[in-house]
């Protein structure tokens, strides 16, 4: 076993009001669906209501005090995000609705401008639909092709195969996840970026599953674009982040048109605002961006190294206990260093939806289905899996209850 982590789960749990509610039958909530969305600490919830109660105002335009306070709070979060991923400047941070929108922004404003008929975009079989469909749409529009890097049986990609694929002269863009939302696999994105840049191909990283769980440094990775979401890291829904290198953002046309993204508007033409405002048309999600700031503070206080350490410990423990269960199939890399705190599995021939219903009786919130990754499901030759995913407030005691529940499901289905 790894050394005990510096994360005090019991103390953390006190900060999350929802973890004190009960599920039908009087069970404590055991929330193991963190790869879908995470719960919110009181500081996040309070920062949102504080905004509405004390300084609600539109931003960037008015000069009254409320607007000044709201603008300051909103822009302060952009600074926090820039610092979180070590962007050179906050100008390289664009707020969107979610990671999906961030990827679509690059598909529209970069890929759509640069792809022609014979070109190609390369992704992997591990991707979430949000990193597949935008590329299908844009390659379909211009008649370009979409190619996939395969995934091995243990959920890893082959870097040699990648190194070969990127030498295709038609390749114009690579887009890959840093961490699989199904298998937890951590992809070698730094190496992939280096290889892509050797042939002058830009790379986008879908970091929706990685940024919440580990230290991610865009300058160290040297990626050109990165997308992630606030709600998967203790923040509110409705806030996505796009990081892009300044030289790309400057050359890209706007995403949608409207207020706030303009410098001057005349009857027939408009000059666009500076970065990053050019990409943020209309009133943004001010309250939730401010809430996201509180989430970043909370995670920074815990420390990303401690978070990763805690998650590796709980994942290792869960893998060990789950492997004791007869008839279980666990997907993804067996080594905890190569994966995040996500475990996909199947138990005998019990359908994941049946398993999720049974686990719900134990108060366990677990995901079942294709996890928006049907390409990967086809690769694994399963129609669905069950998935548990952990975060800072999950404990080994909860894993023990999970194991009891799985054993109980086995008995019920006569396995």
């Amino acid at each position: 076993m790894l050394q005990s982590s510096t994360i005090d789960v019991e103390k953390i749990r006190q900060d999350f009001p929802i973890l004190h509610r009960r599920i039908k039958g009087g069970h404590k909530l055991i929330y193991l669906d963190n790869a879908a969305t995470t719960q919110k600490p009181r500081t996040v919830i309070d920062s949102i209501s504080n905004y509405y109660m004390n300084y609600n105002s539109n931003i960037h335009r008015a000069v009254h005090q409320l607007a000044e306070e709201a603008t300051f709070a909103y822009e302060e979060v952009r600074q926090k995000v820039a610092k979180l991923v070590n962007a050179r400047s906050a100008d390289e941070i664009v707020f969107t609705r979610n990671a999906t929108e961030s990827i679509n922004l690059i598909a529209r404003c970069w890929a759509r401008q640069h792809l022609t008929k014979s070109d190609e975009v390369l992704i992997t079989e591990i991707e979430h639909h949000s990193n597949i469909v935008p590329w299908q749409l844009v390659t379909g529009e211009v008649g370009a092709s979409l190619d996939y890097l395969g995934v091995g049986d243990e959920g890893r990609i082959d870097i040699e195969e990648f190194a070969q694929k990127i030498h295709d002269p038609n390749l114009k863009l690579v887009s890959v996840s840093q961490m699989s939302n199904v298998l937890g696999t951590i992809l070698p994105v730094k190496e992939m970026t280096k290889l892509a840049h050797e042939v002058n191909v830009p790379i986008m990283i879908d970091a929706a599953q990685s940024v919440p769980h580990m230290k991610v440094d865009v300058q160290d990775l040297d990626c050109d674009f990165m997308a992630f979401s606030a709600h998967k890291m203790l923040g509110p829904t409705g806030v996505g982040i796009l990081y892009a290198k300044r030289e790309f953002l400057e050359k890209m046309p706007p995403f949608i048109g409207g207020g706030d993204m303009i410098k001057e508007v005349h009857k027939q033409n408009t000059s666009f605002n500076d970065l990053p405002y050019k990409f943020e048309a209309g009133t943004p999600n001010i309250a939730d961006v401010i809430g996201f700031g509180a989430a970043i503070d909370y995670l920074n206080d815990l420390g990303f190294e401690n978070i990763r350490e805690h998650e590796m410990q709980i994942t290792e423990y869960a893998l060990e206990r789950m492997n004791e269960i007869q008839g279980i199939t666990i997907y993804g890399p067996p080594i905890v260093n190569e994966r995040g705190a996500v475990i996909s599995f199947n138990l005998g021939d019990i359908h994941p939806h049946d398993l999720a219903t049974i686990l719900n009786d134990f108060g366990i919130a677990m995901r079942s289905g294709h996890h928006c990754a049907q390409v990967l499901m086809e690769r694994l030759d399963v129609s669905a899996t069950s998935r548990v995913s952990f975060y800072v407030y999950n404990s080994k005691d909860e894993v023990n209850i999970l194991i009891d529940a799985l054993q109980s499901a086995r008995r019920l289905f006569g396995l």
Partner: protein, 142 residues
Amino acid sequence: MSEDIYREIILDHYRNPRNKGRISDADVSFHDSNPLCGDEIDIHLKVEDNIVKDIKFEGRGCAISQASASMLTEMVMNKPLTSVKELGKDDILENIGLVNLGPARIKCALLSLKVLKMSMVEYYASKDPESAQEIREGSRLY
């Protein structure tokens, strides 16, 4: 709770589905799936004198979707299409004994009836477009 759902009869139909397979000379076949769950059902129908002469299903998915399909085939076998047309959500839930199924799982239980109704829509499409339209409207069960 789940002991109530996964009663002997559901597990029995799941493990030993009735009328599972194809009909080589089926008059009509229809396929549909639950996009969220991935449950899949195909219904094959043989009709004679407006009576369900034979019905078979194929599919994969959770115990509730597959058991419900199995039980539905027994329910409508040799019944006139006019009475099958009238079947609704509550008939199915009563038939499988799960009247309190939550909103997430109710789609699993109703998928097979939806597919059966859509196969009847196909069956009537050229013969009786008016009935086809009526059944199509009745197929929106969730």
